[in-house]
Amino acid sequence: MRLDPWTLAAIIGMALATYACRGGGYWLFRQIKPTPLLRAVMAHIPGTLFVSFVVPALVAGGTQPVVGAAATLVTMVATRSLSLAILAGTAAAWGVWGLG
């Protein structure tokens, strides 16, 4: 069982950052009311964050992730099922990989 000290430090940092959001956010907003501008900005964070993760990966990855992402998106819109969309997208990416 390997436990690298840097990895452990990163995990502790991630755990503290997560609880700062889960618990700290509740605590903070019990003390102060967020301004309407801050609320408006924070409402956009989930979508823009995942776009920022996905787009560079698609630009760098080429055909395989682009085909996979298209299959994921189409399946998600058609079925609204996270599991089916992940399966269909991964299968499509696998298909491209098999061809290339």
Partner: protein, 237 residues
Amino acid sequence: MTASSSAPVVFTRAGVLRGMKECIPLLIGVTPFGLVCGITAQGAGLSFLETFLMSASVYAGSAQLVVLANWAHPAPVVAATLATFAVNLRMALMGPVLSPWLDRLRGWRLWGSLFVMADQNWAQALGDMTAGGRDAGVLLGSGLIMWVWWIVTGGIGHAMGTVLSLPPGHPLFFAALAVFVSMLANMWRGWGDVLPWVIAGGVAVVTARLLPGTAWYIVAGALAGSMTGGLRDHFRR
């Protein structure tokens, strides 16, 4: 629960058990996510013990996947912490929504409920509360089951990755990206999202070119996009 909204908020064993029972269907949706997270952790070079510790203490799939996609040796401590903070910032807004329940709790009941609060059981607890539910134990019960299942599926995923010993670039790792693509379909709120999303994607691509091998592009893109969208929404009203 049909109690009137003026009834006092309670925290009972029955509520915790009901939360546990009612979240079981949600586990079907969590399963592929947990497996992908475990496989990705194994692919990034984390040991079984490290994967277990990450799943148990962080317990936030999106953040774990984003960080693991940019993993390096030695582990990027500061970048991983900041990226986790950025990904989980949405949770800071989830607790306050449940304040009619949470404001009535103290000690481990409050801080423990917040520790196991994830997107799925938060939404379920909110539905219960909105329907007039007065038992705050529901949030802790559903969260505990999800937390245990998250650790178990992460461990199974890690074992699967070890058995399959996938090479880097194997299409199974695309599953991590597919998780985010499918979640984006759910986050789409209308044409108002186009401008902030385009800004976010553009800034992220440029930042990834300027600072290769780091996770800063995610933070930079999200900040640029959400500030653009937030400022526009605020001053258009």
